[in-house]
């Protein structure tokens, strides 16, 4: 028997469905966006101040706790927000199912790998001698 027929019309209309989720992506995109308004402006201003900087200047900058912490937060928010955005782009434009799934997997893995590399680099500088 068709499962749908076991549910009342009201149940079908208001039922949350099997997943009971779906707004997480939307919310995460907004929360990271708000975080990136502040972090992004701070980071952009820092990069302008460091334009053409040599390595010693960059090391001195990231050796301070506050810039190191804010840079790590920027990297996390940036790659999280970027992965959420690229996911929508891939879902919108890649119509072949296997290509879509594999693009999503590769994009996620690359995003996480780049974020970890960035965080590790900042920590290495921050805790380095």
């Amino acid at each position: 028997m068709d499962r749908q027929q076991l549910r009342s019309p009201l149940g079908r209309a208001v039922g949350p469905g099997s997943a009971k989720e779906g707004v997480e992506h939307w919310w995460a995109q907004r929360v990271t966006a708000v975080a990136l308004i502040l972090l992004g402006l701070w980071f952009a201003a820092s990069l302008v101040a460091l334009a053409g900087a040599d390595r010693a200047q960059v090391l001195r900058w990231l050796h301070e706790p506050l810039p190191a912490i804010l840079t790590i937060l920027t990297v996390i928010a940036l790659f999280y927000h970027g992965a959420l955005g690229l996911q929508v782009v891939i879902e919108d434009y890649v119509h072949s199912e296997w290509l879509k799934i594999s693009s999503l997997v590769v994009m996620r893995l690359v995003s996480v790998a780049l974020a970890v590399a960035g965080i590790f680099a900042v920590l290495r500088i921050a805790f380095g001698g």
Binding site: R30, A33, V34, L36, I37, G40, L41, A44, L47, V48, A49, L50, A51, G52, D54, R55, V58, L59, L62, T71, V75, L78, F79, G82, G85, L86, V89, D92, Y93, L114, A117, G118, F120, A121, V122, R124, I125, G128
Partner: protein
């Protein structure tokens, strides 16, 4: 089952839908987002190079100071400020405000002006600091 050959969203622009400020800004939000994502590995490269050593950092520094690097930095600067300004416009919409046609156009032109001005200011400041 073969899906019907219907025109898909982005390719209706210009042929079926008239080009207008609002749709161009929406398209550009996505384009700048993609371009910023392309830039993110370069940011990580810069950080990792600084953590690695003088030789690695010299290579990154050389790239960002080259004409291609400076051009890409200009593109990232504009993309950042555009995506930031238009992103705030989107957050205001998410809160339920600014949907009137006049308001949507006014906020749209504000985004164009603000992101253009911020790009010029930030890039010029960068060039000045760089010397």
């Amino acid at each position: 089952m073969t899906p019907a050959e219907r025109p898909l969203s982005p390719f209706q622009l210009g042929t079926i839908y008239k080009l207008q400020l609002t749709s161009m800004l929406s398209l550009n939000h996505r384009a700048t987002g993609i371009f910023l994502s392309v830039g993110s590995p370069f940011l990580v490269w810069w950080l990792v190079a600084a953590a690695t050593g003088d030789h690695a950092f010299a290579a990154a520094r050389w790239f960002f100071g080259s004409w291609l690097g400076l051009l890409m930095l200009l593109g990232w600067t504009f993309s950042f400020f555009y995506h930031l300004c238009n992103g705030i416009r989107h957050l205001v919409w998410d809160a339920g405000y600014g949907f009137e046609l006049r308001t949507a156009y006014a906020s749209g032109w504000t985004v164009v002006a603000a992101s253009g001005a911020l790009t010029v200011i930030a890039y010029a400041a960068g060039l000045l600091v760089r010397g």
